[in-house]
């Protein structure tokens, strides 16, 4: 069966648990390792389908173009991700990708302020790999429920990013939501025009960020999460409500095709 690009069966090199509920899987595919940019995702066919019909989307976490490998960071939350934890090195995964668009890095970018809530951290390391190569200043604001939920802290320390942590239970960093230290930081930010925020996290956090960006005037891009029936624009099941109708009259964008990255001010979260 010859298939064209984008539908591939890739070898699993490793699948290891990194926190109490989060796993890191390493996959081999030259093209994805080479072509992907931060924000894009792959759609994974879940082995053993106990009534699981759809693929499961995951942001591309890191890539190593030289070795032709890439990784995903995933949190075990339900049937699909639980099945994924049982996949072993040496097996193969049927995936589609890379899908979707990327966080944008325009030439005037001086500081990238990355804001992640929980597993929302997943798509950022790839973007950071890219920004580091372009010597952009990077600040990471990373909130989680508790200390035990943090992932990739070593990566951030090695990369030398300016790291701020918050936990809801106060077990590490600021006690409370990450938006509080972020707001303090933005209020004292010297070079606002060169800064841009990149957000990924739970919907309540995104709604909060929207307010915060409006108030501080720092523009933001957000990677959204919706249910995805297909991941490549066929089912129209992933609408993202737009603040204002698009020029062609559309009230919704599609998360998988027009996103998953959007300008925060363009989309609505109230539904």
């Amino acid at each position: 069966m010859k298939t064209l690009k984008k539908a591939v069966v890739v070898p699993v090199l490793a699948n290891v648990q990194v926190t109490h509920d989060t796993w890191h899987i390493t996959l081999e595919d030259k093209q994805i390792a080479h072509d992907s940019c931060g924000g894009q995702f792959v759609n994974v066919f879940v082995p053993q389908n106990n009534g699981v019909l759809w693929r499961r989307p995951f942001g591309i976490h890191t890539t190593d173009p030289d070795k032709g490998v890439f990784t995903l960071l995933y949190k075990q939350i339900g049937r699909g991700t639980t099945a994924l934890t049982t996949v072993k090195a040496g097996e193969a995964l049927d995936i589609l990708g890379p899908l979707g668009n990327c966080f944008t890095h325009t030439s005037d970018l001086k500081e990238a302020i990355i804001v992640a809530g929980g597993i929302g951290i997943a798509p950022f390391p790839l973007f950071i790999q890219h920004l580091v190569q372009h010597s952009v200043k990077i600040s990471v604001f990373y909130g989680a429920r508790s200390k035990i939920d943090f992932c990739c802290l070593d990566f951030f320390r090695q990369t030398g990013v300016n790291l701020h942590l918050a936990t809801e239970d106060g077990s590490s960093g600021h006690k409370g939501f990450i938006t509080a230290p972020l707001l303090a930081y933005l209020q004292t930010l010297p070079d606002k025009p060169g800064a841009r925020i990149y957000v990924c996290g739970p919907t309540p956090m995104l709604a909060k960020m929207k307010e915060l960006c409006r108030d501080t005037g720092v523009p933001a891009e957000v990677s959204v999460e919706t249910m995805m029936g297909c991941g490549f624009g066929a089912c129209m099941g992933c609408p993202v409500p737009l603040e204002n109708p698009a020029s062609d009259g559309r009230l919704y964008a599609l998360a998988c095709k027009d996103g998953p990255v959007f300008n925060l001010e363009e989309i609505r979260f109230d539904e």
Binding site: T3, G51, M227, G229, A234, C235, C238, P239
Partner: protein, 304 residues
């Protein structure tokens, strides 16, 4: 090589495998995955007279063995369809079947009249499952008279083959099939989605914003098969079978029950290559079972 070709009225398909409206976009979405020209035909996402934004989220939900959707027929409207989508579709050699829907009975002939001036369209599929706003929201194929008269009005404005796509949510689909046959349809496609629902318990909200939704996927296959068989016993025009077809065996079951061709729907979402795999699977199966012509299979169910 077995002969997989078949006829739907005057429309000749290279093989019985087509793809269901609303599950295949405007084909471009699948160009990264498969050679579109290996398909028997492509049925486009529903096109309406005016652009439609579609329904608010959530639009889809996964259930055990099936899915619910209430997408709301988002589309750019027939004029932009012609300018934006047809150029790509015209580059393909497979058959292009444009699926259309109306808010009122009058919409159907109007939109077909507009499309009839456009080259590169091989047939129309009339989506009769959408609510007939003027008739209290019942679908156009819930009532035999309505289905017949809308079909007649379309027949009057085009010589291209017309395929009436029926809702399964009726007491007697055979009667509706007879009515559209009477109205001049060249074929029926059966079935569209079943009405279903799911509830998120913690919030006590429906899992789909529009509350009820269309149910599709493997779970509906036995139901859809029974509808195709009921139609086959009743009508004389060809039937295109749809509902939960996920592999070659599913396709063969529909052919044996009476379908002349089939449509792959929900399965395209998890395997964008599945339609082509079924084309190849049918070829292999026919060879292994010494079937010369795929048309031998249609309606070959053996009953004591």
């Amino acid at each position: 090589m077995s002969d997989l070709t078949l006829k739907i009225g005057r429309l000749v398909l290279a093989n019985p495998v087509t793809v269901a409206s609303g599950t295949f976009g405007y084909a471009e979405e699948f160009a990264d995955f498969i050679d579109l020209n290996q398909l028997g035909g492509i049925i486009t996402k529903t096109v309406t007279l005016e652009p439609r934004p579609g329904n608010p989220p959530p639009r889809i939900a996964e259930t055990s063995g099936g899915m619910l959707n209430s997408i709301g027929l988002p589309n750019v409207g027939v004029q932009k369809f012609i300018t934006d989508k047809m150029p790509f579709l015209r580059t393909l050699t497979t058959k292009i079947i444009v699926n259309v829907a109306g808010k009122s009975a009058e919409d159907y002939p109007e939109i077909i009249r507009i499309l009839d001036a456009v080259e590169g369209i091989d047939a129309y599929e009339l989506n009769y499952s959408c609510p007939n706003v003027k008739e209290g929201g019942l679908s156009f194929s819930a009532n035999a008279h309505v289905a017949e008269s809308v079909t007649k009005s379309v027949r009057a404005v085009t010589n291209r083959p017309i395929i009436a796509k029926l809702t399964p949510n009726v007491t007697a689909i055979g009667e509706i099939g007879l009515a559209v046959e009477q109205g001049g349809a060249d074929a029926v496609s059966a079935v569209n989605t079943f009405v279903g629902m799911a509830i998120d318990i913690p919030s006590r909200r429906p899992k789909i914003a529009m509350v009820t939704a269309g149910y599709s996927g493997p779970a509906i296959k036995p139901l859809a098969l029974a509808k195709v068989y009921e139609l086959y016993k009743k009508i004389h025009i060809p039937i295109i079978g749809i509902g939960g077809i996920c592999d070659t065996n599913d396709a063969i079951e529909f052919l044996i029950a009476g379908a002349a061709a089939i449509q792959v729907g929900t399965a395209n979402f998890w395997d964008p290559c599945i339609s082509i795999k079924i084309v190849e699977g049918l070829q292999t199966w026919c060879r292994q079972n010494h079937i010369q012509k795929i048309t031998e299979l249609t309606g070959s169910l053996k009953i004591k």
